[in-house]
């Protein structure tokens, strides 16, 4: 990878394209890829709440798990994006005592 460009990883896209080539629509291919990825269960989230220092009832975990799954599916686009090492977060830390 160059130090000046932005590049997207191809593995997931190649997989989608391959599935599409085999006859699956783009959205179906995307769904198939998502299903292969590990599903978030309420039980798994319950374990993770220890990290958050926050408790959720089983009823809430049943609501949160599919919502989080749905969001993460969308965020995968961002996670798949490969960025150059020179690309820093936009709001950078600035000392401002004035």
């Amino acid at each position: 990878m160059t130090m000046s460009g932005f590049k997207t990883t191809v593995s997931r896209r190649v997989a989608i394209r391959t599935l599409a080539f085999l006859g699956a629509s783009a959205s179906l291919a995307s769904r198939l890829i998502a299903q292969v990825r590990q599903q978030i269960t309420p039980e798994a989230l319950g374990q993770a709440t220890a990290i958050l220092d926050q408790e959720f009832t089983d009823e809430r975990l049943e609501v949160i798990a599919p919502a989080l799954q749905w969001n993460l599916h969308q965020f995968q686009l961002v996670r798949d994006l490969e960025l150059d090492d020179l690309v820093e977060p936009a709001p950078t830390f600035r000392v401002n005592w004035r």
């Binding site: 958050l52 926050q54 609501v63 919502a67 969001n71 965020f75 961002v78 977060p89």
Partner: protein, 476 residues
Amino acid sequence: MQSHELVFMSGMDLADLIRTRAVSPVEVVSAHLDRIDALNARVNAFITVTREHALARAREAEQDIRSGRYLGPLHGIPYAPKDILATAGILTTNGSRATADWVPEYESTITDRLNKAGAILIGKLNLLEFAMGSGTLSGFGPTRNPWHLDYSPAGSSSGSGAAVAAYMLPLSIGTDTGGSIRGPAAANGIVGLKQTYGRVSRYGVTTLSWTLDHAGPMTRTVADAAAMLQVIAGHDPMDPTTAEDPVPDYSRALTGDVRGVRIGVPTNYFYEDADPDVEASIRRAIDLLEEMGAIVVDVDVPHAHYATSAGWIIAMSEAACFHERRLRETPELFDPLIRERLEAAKFYTATDYLKASRVRTVLISEMKEVFRRCDVMIVPGSGSVAGLLSSPEVAGSDLREGREPGEYRRGTTFIGNMTGLPAMTMRCGFSSGPPRLPVTMQLYARPFDEYSVFRVGHAYQTVTDWHEQRPPVAEQ
């Protein structure tokens, strides 16, 4: 002049009448209060109407102007902010049962500056709860679209958009974290400006996302938006993110002349999912501007399709942090949709947040390239016209039968929040219908160059009458 005719005038037309004492602020404010009384039960744009306060201020303005103390073009003109701007001594609900009884002791900088310029607060406007709820399930009920009451006015500045479109008032303020000024401006067919991040103070505006939030004018004319921005723009010691750059005289942009202005039209992403009616109307608007002397050039924003996904990570992470205590102590008071989103956001990772922030850097870099080639970039205000209001059964969750995640994350607005660039949505046609609903275009420009946005937008309004056409409810 008949008092009911006053409500159909723009803020700046009213200003001319008030300045020359052809009408008094009391007449203007009374006409709009009558209008609100007649329509609000159906449109539900206002949460609070400050009738006595407004009439008292109008009488003061009348006296001041009669005594030669004219404060400028907003003096005596009624306005209302989205009910997420703190107004001292006046109920500020944030559209939420969690803060339904909040009466702030302080004033937002925006309303403070508008009040000091002589504008008259006439009420507080409905919104999606904390600027992101369902709008259907909150304690204040859904606002309805004046173009068809079964349709959504979009959000989150629903009341601001609908009230202006229904001629209940000429000037309003909305807030925009991912498109919440420009979405309702599109659905209701009005002018909605999200100015450059840092141009206008966020002090006293309840936070959704510290790094994405903006608050700006929603009006029917570009001239009115320019007059409002003139008053509310500028550095504020109470908001360290406000810029110290001088505020130009925006009235000088309202020349009607676009000769030599370079208009960029993206060749990727922005028009890809636009309805045919939408794309055709915008292409006609661009052709018209070209006939008027503008120069049209192709531009490209290669990573534009990342803006909404990355923006959502940032917005919800910051919102979950801001509402942490309320979410822990009184989660049942939140709209179900907000609760679902904020609780899910508790599980987003810090690396996701920072990755999204790095995407901002990429987008800023690409937009910088765009504005080397053009002065204003034109894209759809929204790819589609307003949709039907959601039923309560589906409004409470992002998870819906048959709904693809990708459908939810598309859009033409979030890139404005991610880059901080100024963007203004304005009407440029109607769908073929039925029902006949507004179509809008969106004008982007360089940082702090609202001037160019006003220049092009005003020129377009001087040669078209889309912005003067009234919704059915306004004629009743």
